[in-house]
Every structure is written in structure tokens, then in C-alpha cells.
């Protein structure tokens, strides 16, 4: 791995050295390091690019890091990663993709991740997307995530895209069984002429299933964002989606929540709010001695924290 690649890894996974536990580094389409543990196995797929991550039942307090970096301009790849998580686990999975494009051709990474979570398991899934590079080539990421939660399982997905991705289309689907819970916390900031579209659809099939899909975003300059959140309640369940966006400059933000209740005991709520930074927030911070620009930066930093 060279310095640029190491820098990307630091940005997306916060890693300064080889992580503890299981990991799989993918650099410019090639395997660049892997470790497995007694409980977590990683196997290269044979029919298509990607890996299977198999976590034994009862695995607790372990983590898997699977960062991907692209530093070769013009590289386009689709990678299929499947996670098979046994029953009664408690694990953290850190994925993420960093693109450094110093050339003129578009670099594109599409990560297709599927999670099959066993009964009563808890999973924290963290995914960060980051782009950099001074070339004219676009940096494109299209992550697809599919989640299936067995009875009593819990998956919390934290997804962050703060900088440098020119175009992203993010699709997340989930099927939630009895007493299982799916939480999404999405944070997005777009600037320049960037476009970001996120599309969540959650099927609440089990009795006592629940979901909370929360998106916070900031759209600057001439960027465009679209947020779809579809929740279907097919049983006694509860679902909530929330899109909260700060709009600035000439940006465009669309929020399209959709709720379908197919059971009389389904309780579904959506909230969507788009607006500029409130004038009184700026004034308050200015009375503390901040300039208007500093106040704006602090408000955005807090909002996306």
C-alpha cells in the first residue's frame, strides 16, 4: 500500500495500522491483506468479485474491517460482499470506500452488501465514503445494502458521506422479522455539482418489528440530493423515518417519504424538514463572538456530527 492509499484508509476506517480482529483490504481491485479469527472467516467468492464473511454463532465483541480503496483513475468495479452472522452475536462491521482520482477518467465503485443476521444478534455496521484527488475524473459510488433480520435481531447502520463523491446512488432494502429492529443513521454533505440519491425501503414483516430511518444532510453550492424512504408495515410494528436537510446556496433537496400500512396495528410516522440555517442560530453564535462564517461552520459541523 502506498501513502495515498494509507491516507484513504485513515479517512474511511480511522485506521492507522492493521486493525485487531478480522479484516480484508481491497486496493485497486485486488486483495491487499486479510486476517481471519477463530470466529470470523472471510472467503473469496468464486463466481464474482467479492467476499463472504461468516461469523460463528455466539461471537461477541469482535469486529471486522473491510475497507476498499481506489487510487487508479478509470477503475470501475462492482464488489459483492455477503455477511452471514450467526445467532446471539454482538459484532461491529466497518466497511467504507475511499477514491483518490488524480486522472481524467471516472473511477467507480459499487459495493453490494448483504447481511443475513441470525436470531437475537446485534450488529453495528459503519460505512464511510470519501473521495479526493485533483484530476477531472469523476468519483462515483453506488452502494447497495440488503439486510435480513431474523427474530429478535438488531442492526444499526451508520452511513457517512461528507466529502468528495461526485455522484452517489445509495440503495438500501431491509426485511425485518419478529421483534427485530433496523436503525439507519445517514449523514450526507454535498457541494459543487455533486449529486446524491438515497433510497431506503424497509419491510416490517414481523410482529413487534421496528425501524427508525434518520437522514441528516447538508446541500451546498449547486449540488442536488434526493431522499426516498419507504416503510411498509405488514404486521403489528412501528416505523419512523426522518429527513432533516439544511439547504444552502443554489442547491436542490427533495424528500419523498412513503408509508404503507397493511396491518391495523402498524404504527408508521414520517417527518421531513428542509430549510436554510435559522437566522436566530447564526445570531446567537455571533453574540458569542463568532463571525457569520464561523457560526455557519459550527452549525453544520454539529448538525452532521
Amino acid at each position: 500500500m502506498d501513502e495515498i492509499q494509507r491516507q484513504l484508509i485513515r479517512e474511511i476506517a480511522g485506521l492507522h495500522e492493521v486493525p485487531q480482529g478480522a479484516y480484508n483490504f481491497r486496493v485497486n481491485g485486488q486483495l491487499d491483506g486479510r486476517a481471519v479469527t477463530e470466529n470470523i472467516n472471510i472467503v473469496t467468492k468464486e463466481d464474482k468479485p467479492g467476499i463472504d464473511i461468516i461469523i460463528k454463532p455466539g461471537t461477541k465483541n469482535e469486529s471486522v474491517h473491510i475497507p476498499v480503496v481506489l487510487s487508479q483513475t478509470g477503475l470501475k468495479e462492482s464488489v459483492y460482499n455477503d455477511f452471514f452472522i450467526g445467532e446471539d452475536c454482538d459484532v461491529t462491521i466497518v466497511a467504507g470506500c475511499g477514491i483518490h482520482n488524480g486522472g481524467d477518467k471516472a473511477s467507480e465503485h459499487s459495493g453490494i452488501h448483504s447481511f443475513f443476521v441470525g436470531k437475537n444478534s446485534r450488529v453495528k455496521y459503519i460505512e464511510k465514503h470519501y473521495g479526493e484527488g485533483d484530476g477531472n475524473g469523476e468519483r462515483i459510488m453506488n452502494p447497495t445494502t440488503h439486510v435480513e433480520l431474523s427474530e429478535g435481531a438488531y442492526l444499526e447502520m451508520e452511513t457517512v458521506q461528507i466529502k468528495g463523491i461526485d455522484s452517489t446512488k445509495r440503495t438500501t432494502s431491509a426485511v425485518i422479522n419478529d421483534n427485530a429492529t433496523f436503525i439507519v443513521k445517514e449523514k450526507i454533505m454535498t457541494h459543487g455539482k455533486q449529486e446524491a440519491s438515497t433510497d431506503f425501503s424497509v419491510e416490517l414483516n414481523g410482529e413487534g418489528s421496528s425501524t427508525d430511518v434518520i437522514s441528516r444532510s447538508v446541500a451546498k453550492d449547486d449540488s442536488k440530493q434526493t431522499f426516498y424512504a419507504r416503510i411498509s408495515g405488514n404486521n403489528k410494528c412501528s416505523g419512523h423515518s426522518e429527513c432533516d436537510a439544511i439547504i444552502m446556496d443554489r442547491a436542490v433537496v427533495r424528500a419523498i417519504p412513503e408509508l404503507t400500512a397493511a396491518d391495523v396495528d402498524a404504527s408508521l410516522i414520517h417527518e421531513a424538514a428542509i430549510g436554510k440555517i435559522a437566522g436566530e442560530q447564526l445570531i446567537k453564535l455571533m453574540t458569542l463572538g463568532l463571525t457569520e462564517q464561523e457560526a455557519e461552520d459550527q452549525i453544520i459541523k454539529g448538525f452532521l456530527k
Binding site: 446567537k284 458569542l288 457569520e292 459550527q298
Partner: protein, 243 residues
Amino acid sequence: MLEFQNVSYNVSEDNSEKEIIKNINVKIDGRFTAITGPNGGGKSTMAKLIAGIIKPTSGRILFDGEDITDMSITDRARKGISYGFQQPVRFKGLTVNDLITMAAGRKIDITEACSYLSEVGLCAKDYIGREVNASLSGGELKRIEIAMVIARGTALSVFDEPEAGIDLWSFKSLIKVFENMYKKQGGSIVIITHQERILEIADRILVLNNGAIEKYGTREEIFPGLMKGDIACSALTKACDID
């Protein structure tokens, strides 16, 4: 310290100009000045003029002899003017600690941030990490607002109706907060208030009515008259007489 020279503030309403502040001339140089008077008398407008949130239509405002009339909110804050809002602002994502740190204007440790919260009667460990969002009650927000002003520790602290939204139980401790500020901090305090208990601890009282100064003097001179109700609206007084 703070001087208003021929300050007027007008707003346009239905194609006509309405005078909110009418050619005020006053020097506020006491250590603890209370501004009081009927609702709509121009008190909050005066506070906003001091902080720079609005600019006078005419006249000059001086702070420690320097003309600050054209200065921005930021520059006035940096010169040493603090302003506690009547209705505190909520921020999604920013925590109490973030705001206290910004108020202090320098890196402070948790112990110091907590000391400002304790000052306003909040149990610091319960609040320091909380977001300043809709989950906090009006009274809690108000105390945090006051804690921010204390953390700034500036030459002049202006509070717009700090008692509004604070329950009766907490009110007693609020008085203590201002008494402590008065004792500990070297700066001057200006409080806009309707509360008799706050008027009682002020050095000087300014009565603002209908955009003009009706009375201004020491507490001993002004306070007894206020309690007799001779500044109350005449209609209100009549209503009381009928009862």
C-alpha cells in the same frame, strides 16, 4: 460605559412608520441596571440595539466611549458585550458543552464547563453532553443561556427577561445567580425584567414606557414608586378600581 445618544428606532407598518424607540438619551453606568416597564414599551428593542442585532434608525450608541453604532454583532461581542436571549435558540447536534466552549472563546476542560452549569443550578454531568434541541425544556434552555453569558465573563452582560419560562421554585436560585455574578464578576449587568425581586437587587432602575424613558435613577429613588403602581396603564388601573 454604555451611552445612547438621540437613539430612535422605527419600523414600517402598513405604509406608516412606527416609532419603537423615541430619541433616547441615557448613560447606563451602574454595575447592575434593571430596565422595566409595560409590555411593548421598547425594552427588548433596546437590548437588541445594544447587542447589534438591530441598528438604530438614527442616533449613536457608545460603549466605553467608543462609537459602536455601525459595528457588527460579532465585533460588539468581541468588544465585551454579551446578550442572553429572551427565547433561547435550539441547535440540532450542538451540545451544551459545544455552546459553553464557544461562549468561553477558548479551549476549556469539562470541569470548567461544568462549573458554569452548576452556577445556574444545573447538575452538570446530566447536561454537559446533551444536545441543545427540543428535548430540553424552556427552563433548562434558559439556564444554559445564562451559563453561556457567565462563561463569556464580559464587561457587559445584557439579559432579556431571564425570568421568563423559569418556574417559581427555580426563580429563587435565579436571583442568587445574578447576585453571584454581581459579586464575582467585574463586569456590569443590564437586566430587562418585570420581576420585583430582581428590581430589588438592582443598583439602578430604568423605566421604559412607550419607547421613551419615563424614569431613571437609583433603586431607592425609583423602586417605591413602581410598587405603588403609578406606571401601570391607566386603563388597567381603572379596571382595578371597579373591582
